[in-house]
Symmetry: none
Subunit: 219 residues, 4 copies
């Protein structure tokens, strides 16, 4: 957690720091991100950074919570909690895709974190994050079963892990592929890629995915 000093900062300074730090952590793995580079770009003293945040990890976790919070808000705003499973899921997907395209930096920070297995310092935090994600999907699936839109004989946990990975990894890479990018962070370097994806295409992707999800692969 940032220290109080950070929140006492004039808003534009605070925003600037956040923005530059996001930039840094979005573009490389946690261990390669550099505080030195951040303070240099932000034009603040290195010592100041340590008045604002305990250490590198503290900063990163703050950014991560920020990003996760924004993403959650974005999704919650688009998803009708009362809707049946498939509708809600569709809405989640759409919101997720839009968020990633609109906020590539936030989205990359989250993804970077989730990939940071083996980063001792982040271990617990990542575990917690995964648990929350899983919980989100578990609830959806459970409700789907209760409402009768999902078969009763489905293992909730397994299904949750599966749909979660489909959204966070499979879908992301698929979109990147059809956009012509190669690695996941190409969106950061070539923001114009995102504009190639129009509403219709997004709708097409979602429909295809829903079809898979509903009926599986078998004829």
């Amino acid at each position: 957690m940032p220290r109080q000093t950070f929140f006492n900062l004039p808003e534009d300074k605070r925003k600037k720091i956040i923005d530059i730090a996001l930039d840094e952590f979005a573009g490389r793995p946690y261990s390669k991100a550099s505080l030195s580079r951040i303070v240099a770009r932000a034009g603040i003293a290195k010592g100041s950074m340590y008045q604002y945040f305990e250490d590198k990890k503290d900063l990163f976790m703050y950014l991560l919570e920020l990003a996760a919070g924004e993403k959650l808000a974005y999704i919650e705003q688009e998803v009708d909690p009362g809707a049946d499973f498939f509708t809600a899921f569709e809405q989640s997907m759409l919101a997720g895709i839009r968020f990633n395209l609109d906020h590539p930096k936030l989205s990359r920070v989250i993804a970077n974190a989730m990939d940071s297995t083996g980063e001792e310092a982040l271990h617990d935090f990542i575990v917690k994050g995964r648990k929350m994600t899983l919980e989100y999907f578990s609830q959806m699936v459970r409700r789907g079963q209760e409402q009768g839109s999902i078969r009763k004989d489905i293992d909730i946990k397994l299904a949750s892990y599966m749909v979660s990975s489909m959204l966070s990894q499979g879908l992301t890479e698929y979109i990147l592929d059809i956009l012509g990018g190669s690695a996941v962070d190409d969106l950061l370097k070539k923001p114009e890629l995102a504009e190639r994806l129009n509403e219709e295409q997004i709708k097409g992707i979602i429909d295809e995915t829903m079809k898979l999800l509903r009926n599986g692969l078998q004829p």
Copy 2:
């Protein structure tokens, strides 16, 4: 590619180096892995390492190819290429799971690499790896359609990305979850976890997954 020097080494020395290096790269992101630590543990001179490998990247890529090669061999040995899609997929899954449990280190090195987006030095290599994986699944799906076991109206590419992510991420995390581990590399630290998973359980997981894959979620 390692230099000839490396291959001229007595086998036990070569094995030892590989083993220790795998250990290093399995447990942390590429940028945090340390050649210094490796040579210290291996009891060889720093200069020697550079007689064997061009540089850090060269070493990592060698290990990665080694791991990928072993995994591929393992899977190919278990999968009947003539079988229909769902059978072949089942066999792939089983082989994949077994490989991960039997060779957690190799499996972690592969996973680490695939997560190393943003690692400039590895970019091209990772992209290539992803392409190959996708190709593998694409062919399976395509053949499945031709043989009539998969619906004709399914987008091959999308489906491939989805099943790929399910296997590489969703399934892995699910298994780890039921094993009681928390993060993906816990298997490295507590190898005894792997033994908790018996044949029956594995069969159960596979059956559940196949059900999802065949019929989707809908009743």
Copy 3:
């Protein structure tokens, strides 16, 4: 350019660093000079050096500019810009000789740099330096022609290169020779050599050189 940090240093510390660094760069070619040695002798942390200078090259170029600046100042102070060519040249020579004897370290750093052809990193800088030196002599010669003290049929550029090399190399080595030294940097190791050269001798050398320059070798 050194970072601001360096200029904020207490003067004696700054001087000490400069002095030790000059020592290091005066005595060996650029590529053999060692930052590690400098910090060890200066009793500062290696990291500190990188707070002061961007890198080795930055440090060297700073020292070089320092030395060149001091030499230029020294010479300008002794040379009457309005004087006719031969007077001005005589004054230049005298100032140059005195500078080299009084500041052997600075003088060696400059000479080392000018010899550092093939030092990729310094290439552009050296070229620039040579251009400036040439320009200095070209102007002198050109003015000499305009004032009628130099023959009109003389190729300015060629003459400039020639007098430049005579001063920077021929004269230096001659003086060293009569002082009993052997290589150009012997003055650094045996500073007492310099004292052997008295005013009269210097005057003699200059007169001889001027004679050559004015009338050439022919009777």
Copy 4:
């Protein structure tokens, strides 16, 4: 001095080693030249190099003597020892220029050595080389005086140092300048530069220089 083993080598192998080593030492200062690079390019074992030469210095000095010998032979062949000073000097110049243009590698090795003041290991050798050069010019000048083509009141040593520096430095840089190169080793990288200099131009340069030498700058 190379060991006997080196001279026992088949000629083409010996030539190849020499050629590649010349390449290495021509392009960078002694301390940056690398034996590792040489053996790699020559395709021989590192140990073999140490069967042929005592160490790096031994190799370099051999190359240097080789280059110096060739240059001397080249010059002696073109210079009539009985001719009067100015004729002999003219011939020397012409031969020197031609040698440098025809054998840029050899010429660069020599120049690199002469610039390697401060290179502890080479100190004595360089001193010796300079002495020999000086001796060469001293004799010329002395003979010139005896023959009456040079004024009697000229200091032989000073004049020798001056003409020596004019030829080895001033002239070289002048030629490079009009060829469009910037640093002395540009001739190595762009050999086509040399071809721009035709016979007539060379003659022009020599005439100009002789004029300076004979009559000095004064009208």
